[in-house]
């Protein structure tokens, strides 16, 4: 089977799902004729027409707000925020309505929709095009937050998100869109389940999204350098978080490093540490180490690589935690 990149995986999945299920609908800025600025929705407009693939006005709250209505009417909208940095415009529709309609109506109305958004740095972009704010959505009860890391898991996770009964924020690490290809490994991917990518005994390393690549490379380096046995976990669902998988691993290894692209403070790593504190503190042989972006405004591309977690930083964090 041919190797494909993440964009192709997502695009194929959308083609398949829209063919199977005619309640699925695409809406967003430049998702139609243009196929999306990253081409994730390429070819859908031609195949499914303008009624199901809608080039919307530039209005993020309008896009989500309208999609909420469509979802209540029985459709499954898959909307795109052109970049996650322009998704804050719809925060009030997400926190105020999408996340609450099921609770507000005691289940009479539900909002099964997917909000796709490319996020994260490392692509030499302009301001607002490189942030990682998954916490905004993860801290919103009633919303699920899913982040794929590879061509193999991107498709199945997107499909699961589309078939999920709840609003799902599906954040796509744009840095991984085309940076590598895979022959798709058929795998079971469920929302709410993290994946133990490689089992190990000495230390647990948790990451997600674009950081998985550097994490895996760093892990290889540490393995070859000192023959340590590392357990690598791909979180994949940020919320609701799969505490069980993380806790089981940390109870086994007693050491943990979390690699997060978001700024340090109030990031997902803090929640992971809090869960470990709750359920596995006494198993810890070293503090859990966070490798993160700093609490600064994400720098423009001339400086961004100095600020993003790097392979080297991850290696050092793992070494230090092993040596603690």
């Amino acid at each position: 089977m041919a190797k494909i990149n993440m964009v192709q995986a997502l695009n194929t999945t959308l083609h398949d799902v829209m063919t199977e299920d005619d309640t699925v609908l695409i809406m967003g800025e430049d998702v139609g004729v243009n196929g999306g600025v990253f081409r994730v929705t390429d070819g859908l407009y031609e195949k499914f027409g303008r009624d199901r693939v809608i080039d919307s006005p530039i209005a993020e709250a309008g896009i989500l707000g309208t999609a909420i209505g469509m979802a209540i009417a029985g459709l499954k909208p898959v909307i795109e925020m052109q970049f996650s940095g322009f998704s804050y415009e719809m925060m009030h529709q997400m926190e105020g309505n999408a996340s609450r309609m099921r609770n507000r109506s005691r289940g009479q109305f539900t909002v099964p929709l997917v909000v796709r958004m490319p996020y994260g740095g490392g692509v030499r972009a302009l301001e607002h095009h490189s942030e990682s704010k998954e916490v905004f959505y993860a801290h919103t009860a009633g919303v699920k937050v899913v982040i794929p890391s590879s061509p193999s898991n991107a498709g199945p996770l997107l499909k699961a998100a589309i078939n999920d009964p709840d609003p799902v924020v599906f954040m796509e690490p744009k840095r991984s869109y085309r940076s590598f290809k895979e022959t798709i490994q058929p795998g079971e991917y469920t929302i709410g389940k993290a994946e133990v990518v490689t089992p190990g005994e000495d230390i647990t390393v948790v990451s997600w999204g674009a950081m998985m690549r550097d994490t895996l490379k760093a892990a290889d380096m540490v393995r070859s350098e000192r023959g340590a046995s590392l357990e690598i976990i791909d979180l994949m669902t940020i919320s609701p978080m799969d505490a069980a998988t993380i806790i089981a691993s940390v109870k086994k290894t007693g050491r943990c490093v979390v690699v997060q692209e978001a700024q340090q403070s109030f990031g997902p790593a803090s929640e992971i540490i809090a869960l470990i504190n709750d359920q596995a503190l006494m198993y810890l042989e070293a503090p859990v180490k966070r490798v993160t972006m700093y609490d600064v405004i994400m720098p423009l591309f001339a400086r961004e690589l100095m600020y993003l977690p790097s392979k080297e930083k991850i290696v050092r964090a793992i070494q230090e935690t092993l040596d603690f």
């Binding site: 309208t66 209540i72 009417a73 909208p77 529709q93 099921r102 009479q108």
Partner: protein
């Protein structure tokens, strides 16, 4: 290449029934007598239930409450102009409209006593719960209308209601613009009751009318006397019929007045004078509608007395039922976070229930 006039626009105002019950025969919509009567009954129920709930709130038996007395003609006739299968996307100041859509009096009381359960409409599943985030329900109406069409229900429309102040929100703009470009069958009904809490219409926006805001979106716009049930019905019916026929969306500005406080937490004397209120008392929508029906010979004081008695009895029954209290499941909130069972939620539910055992119900 001079300075050319390239566009001309006009905004009209419709009023049919004046304060003395006189009508413009040329404009009177053809509503059968029984419809006129049921409309009057609906407006009266709204008025009486509003008063009763205010009363209960003042006794501390309900929480913060918005009141809608004086605005009945702005929302009740609009519901008469749509079908049960159409979408109703309201705000929080159209009690009578919700009751027309099948909401029970008991539910209304339950909701304002702090139970989400009160939001569930027992008979109509195309009536959305009250919406408090101003303007945010407008795009929902657009999506509902578009969505039903795409699902093959070609003749469904959506009616959404909101206030004058809500027109300042970005969501108003984005919602109406989407309706325009999607040619969505939506009727946007603005209850311009002159105030947004304490903020008068005049400083909410500098446009002369709310209706003219339709011009920004290439949709239809009209202003109506919002205390004139016949005008509101006619304008809404025309907008609904046009939308159903594929003619697109309409913004209707119903000019009315909030006779009471914004909510029970509000003190209107801080920002408006009694004589403003008095001038509007003369414009009362129920009085003029009753005069009209009496003129027409389909109503009289006897019927009026009976109606009030009947409604009072219904409300009394509902209040009694309400006072029995609800069998509310304490951990219901855990049932409605997600449509799937999630470990982290169930673990918290267990902890919640254990804590509840220890402490007993604080509610």
């Amino acid at each position: 290449m001079p300075l050319d006039i390239i566009e001309k626009f006009e905004i009209s105002r419709l009023s049919i029934l004046d304060e003395n019950g006189r009508v413009d025969d040329a404009l009177v919509p053809d509503l059968p007598d029984d419809k006129l009567v049921s409309l009057y009954e609906a407006m009266t129920l709204s008025r009486m239930m509003d008063a009763r709930m205010l009363n209960l709130q003042r006794q501390g038996r309900l929480g913060t409450l918005p009141v809608c007395t004086g605005q009945e003609a702005a929302f009740c006739p609009a519901v008469l102009a749509i079908r049960d299968t159409d979408w109703f996307v309201g705000s929080y100041r159209e009690l009578g409209a919700r009751l027309m859509r099948g909401e029970t009096l008991a539910n209304a009381l339950m909701l304002f006593n702090g139970y989400e359960e009160g939001n569930v409409n027992p008979v109509n599943d195309r009536t959305l719960p009250i919406s408090i985030v101003l303007g945010s329900q407008l795009p929902h109406a657009v999506g509902l209308a578009y969505g039903s069409r795409l699902k093959g229900e070609k003749d469904i429309v959506a009616l959404t209601i909101f206030g004058d102040g809500s027109t300042s929100e970005g969501d108003f703009h984005e919602g109406l613009n989407f309706a325009g470009v999607l040619n969505a069958p939506v009727v946007f009904l603005c209850q311009n009751n002159q105030f947004a809490i304490s903020t008068p219409r005049s400083i909410q926006t500098r446009s002369e009318t709310i209706a003219q805001k339709a011009l920004s979106y290439g949709i239809h716009g009209i202003q109506v006397d919002g205390n004139d049930a016949l005008a509101v019905y006619k304008a809404t019916k025309e907008a609904v019929d046009r939308a159903r026929a594929g003619g697109g969306a309409t913004l209707i500005e119903a000019v009315t007045f909030r006779m009471g406080m914004h909510t029970t937490a509000d003190d209107p004397t801080r920002y408006r004078t009694d004589d403003t209120v008095e001038t509007w008392e003369k414009k009362d929508p129920l009085i003029r509608f009753r005069k009209y029906m009496t003129e027409k010979g389909i109503w009289d004081d006897g019927k009026d007395a009976d109606l009030e008695k009947r409604i009072k009895a219904d409300i009394d029954t509902a209040v009694k039922e309400f006072e029995k209290g609800v069998e509310a499941k304490p951990d219901a909130p855990f049932d409605y976070v997600f449509g799937t069972r999630e470990a982290i939620i169930e673990e918290q539910r267990a902890r919640f229930l254990a804590d509840l055992e220890k402490e007993g119900n604080h509610g």
